[in-house]
Subunit: 319 residues, 2 copies
């Protein structure tokens, strides 16, 4: 992969027509925001461009996605946004894995699969990088483009909360709001809107909360029964692992989610005093030191007992 | 009250010594952040200064409050920060109500009780105004000063989430982080740390959730019994009014909190389709269109029935 600067990426994009912009599967606000922002920027320059994804784009993003009507053309230039690895393209876009001309990404783990790459792992959101690229393309960052980029920035930083946020992130946010990004509306839609079903699921999950090792370990369960009775969907469980993590004194926060009759997905979040990845690797999983996961086959009781025992042992303690 | 500019306020402050900085009762991150930041800035200039409050400063702010050891002196100049009305001084500081020389505030409802005033109701946090004042004083914004100001900015904006946040707010955040404010740590402490008691209270509050008017009204109760059984403190109830407000389709979110055997504090949060202030004024309260409050004497059932009836009527609907 040939690394390019922001200006080089912008110049390259300005020279193209019939551009396909790839977003990753299970799309989040950053990949969708970047996909649509780049697509709209190219169209403003009079080019044909289309953002595509293997999975459906959730309706909650329609406040900017509706600005881009579908265009059909034979792709001549392929761009990937916020995609570290071509495995994340998903089934429908798998055919493009060897054909990506330009990759714009913020993951340090980027597999360098593209011909040209603009990868900055200092940026907490791909949208922070793309904002500069679009400015360098000479396209006015306004309307749906500003909304899309702000969405990427705010969703990938937990509304500017995470430690990965830098002065540049806040400065990019200031710029986008000045250009008309509707920050109040976007943050409300992304962070302050819960369905009744989702709230009911969170309530039941809270009821399942248990502590171990004098409160150093907290565990929450999400069973298939809870999903069924509350009518919640998979997307509704996203924020649940953060519930046990927020509790004062908890070093290891565990969420056990039922995926099949005897299949469970275990997520761990840890403070600096424990290594989530080391614990999960004992069950064939992995991840980062502060956040990792694994699967477990058996009963719920067995899953809980196993992960709690491994976690307690890692704290040098007994259950 | 004589309105002054940022530079005039800074010049005025530079001329003083033995400065007492008043914070409001039931202190929040903004008044505490501003009180300590101004106090530390004056001390950097070699002046004696002390920030004071009628209530105790919660321990969670010690990452910057511990930078200011107590000083005793006879006050010669009194400054109030983030205080709209002298009634908010509380018992211990009530004696200063007619003696405030300078008020720095961001409430449009400021009662103009001070001799000089720097009041900007466009700023979503008093810390945004004070950051500029301290810069104009020629004091380096760094260390505990930067942490204190960032704390004010992030807590009064719900971590930069509220609609009141402007481009200037994000720009101030960028500046403070550049000057060394520990944004990751501060946001984690302020927004991602809950005591077990607080979580238990939120669980019980969720259990009390009821809907009215086909889900357009949601109501949560916090009883004295809940406070007692969970061991939660007043500070633990702060985030609860945001729970019913987040629910999809809810136009009026009500929180009823017991303050005495027959005394209840009612908080309303509304979408654009309802006027919280107009509803609460019917019970002798007030506030803003989107957030208001009032008190109610009677039983819990009466309090709930009354506020739900008034709310339903304002939606042009019947319970």
């Amino acid at each position: 992969m040939i690394n390019v600067t922001t200006q080089e990426a912008a110049d390259l994009l300005r020279q193209q027509d019939n551009v396909l912009v790839l977003m990753h599967r299970s799309p989040d606000g950053d990949t969708i925001g970047c996909g649509y922002a780049l697509c709209l920027a190219l169209r403003w320059l009079g080019r044909k461009a289309q953002a595509v994804c293997s999975d459906e784009i959730p309706m909650q993003y329609r406040y900017f996605t509706e600005a881009a009507e579908e265009q059909t053309f034979t792709p001549q230039f392929i761009v990937a946004v916020d995609i570290a690895d071509t495995q994340l393209l998903g089934d429908k876009l798998a055919g493009y894995e060897d054909r990506v001309d330009l990759c714009i990404d913020h993951h340090g783990s980027n597999r360098e699969y593209a011909h040209y790459g603009l990868v900055c792992d200092q940026a907490p959101a791909c949208a922070q990088i793309l904002t500069e690229v679009i400015r360098a393309m000479g396209v006015p960052v306004q309307g749906a483009i500003a909304d899309a980029l702000f969405t990427g920035l705010t969703t990938d930083t937990g509304c500017f909360r995470y430690a990965s946020v830098t002065a540049d992130t806040y400065r990019t946010a200031a710029y986008l709001v000045e250009q008309g990004a509707r920050n109040g509306l976007i943050n409300r839609l992304m962070f302050e809107t819960k369905s009744r079903n989702r709230l009911e699921l969170e309530k039941q999950a809270l009821d399942s909360l248990r502590y171990y090792c004098e409160g150093q370990i907290a565990l929450i369960c999400i069973t298939a029964e809870m999903m069924r009775t509350t009518g919640a969907v998979d997307n509704d469980t996203e924020a649940i692992p953060s519930i046990p993590r927020q509790i004062e004194g908890v070093k290891i926060a565990i969420t056990v989610k039922q995926k099949g009759e005897r299949l469970f997905r275990i997520s761990l979040r840890t403070t600096e005093e424990a290594d989530a990845s080391a614990i999960c690797s004992q069950l064939g999983g992995g991840g980062h030191k502060a956040a990792a996961g694994c699967s477990y086959e058996g009963t719920l009781e067995e899953a809980v007992r196993t992960i709690v025992t491994l976690s307690a042992r890692s704290l040098g303690d007994m259950v």
